[in-house]
Symmetry: C2
Subunit: 158 residues, 2 copies
Amino acid sequence: MSAMRRLPDEPRLRVWRALLLVHAGVANALEDSLQEGRGIPLAWYQVLVELRLAGGALRMHQLADVATLSRSGTTRLVDRIEAEGLVARRVCPSDRRGLEVVLTAKGQEVQKGAGPLVLRGIQEHLGRHLTDQQAVALAALLETVMEAEQPGSAAPHP
Amino acid sequence: MSAMRRLPDEPRLRVWRALLLVHAGVANALEDSLQEGRGIPLAWYQVLVELRLAGGALRMHQLADVATLSRSGTTRLVDRIEAEGLVARRVCPSDRRGLEVVLTAKGQEVQKGAGPLVLRGIQEHLGRHLTDQQAVALAALLETVMEAEQPGSAAPHP
DNA sequence: CAAGATTGACGGCTCAATCTTC
DNA sequence: GAAGATTGAGCCGTCAATCTTG
């Protein structure tokens, strides 16, 4: 074999390297699947999901946080999704500076329709290679890091 | 508390959600650290590391693979890094269609200098929250998925 | 004609500056 | 004046088309 490449021995370096590759692989797969199946990018689906998880509405800056996007990036993203009628902007009743982004009926429909595609993609490119026990362990480990880095992102298990 | 958000119960969904957030957090941290400390983007560092792991040189399309980037994206990325003198293009001796990207002395120097910053960033935003045992377990789980999805990416433990 | 790499056109994101409301 | 959101300029990535070599 000619192309022998060394891997880092340090476990934390191995974690980061594997995290990069797995993330890229799954993200690309979901991107393609959603684009082909529903004609929307993964970022749109993530917005729709976050809105549903939040109960239907989020402020712009909250959406920016959960989407790990800048404020301006969120503005432009919501512009595009709104142009397709999947979400709508409403002035925030309690603070007239702010805007609420709300799911439209069409948005809920698209989100529900896209859900199975995303589930299948995750299963195909991630879950399939793990036993149930391994999946639980992996989720717990990643959530340990997530919670430590982003306290208040969400309660572990409501 | 008002902003109560639900989390998915399905372990594989939890894995994907946590993977997204952890990846974004660490990537942003490393990006900032490298930009401030060495004046280079994370993508540049990754190219330098991949070249070193490969023994000093890679073909353009090989670099595209390990960097999970398109061919054209790799062309432009190497353009910028080459303009700063960290890598150089050499015509491939065995196949005159191809180009080899090689580390320059300056590139090796920058890579060596940036290494500790990256290590510290990974430790700070990822490793710190895990015991040694957990880090090993997490690396093993992610590598299980990585190997299954990208056979030949590299041997697990040479 | 297939493979390797590059170029042009374009989409999407970020930073800094701006406007509005608290 | 600070926070919420938007806009303009610019960087970085992709896709499709192109050029060169096998």
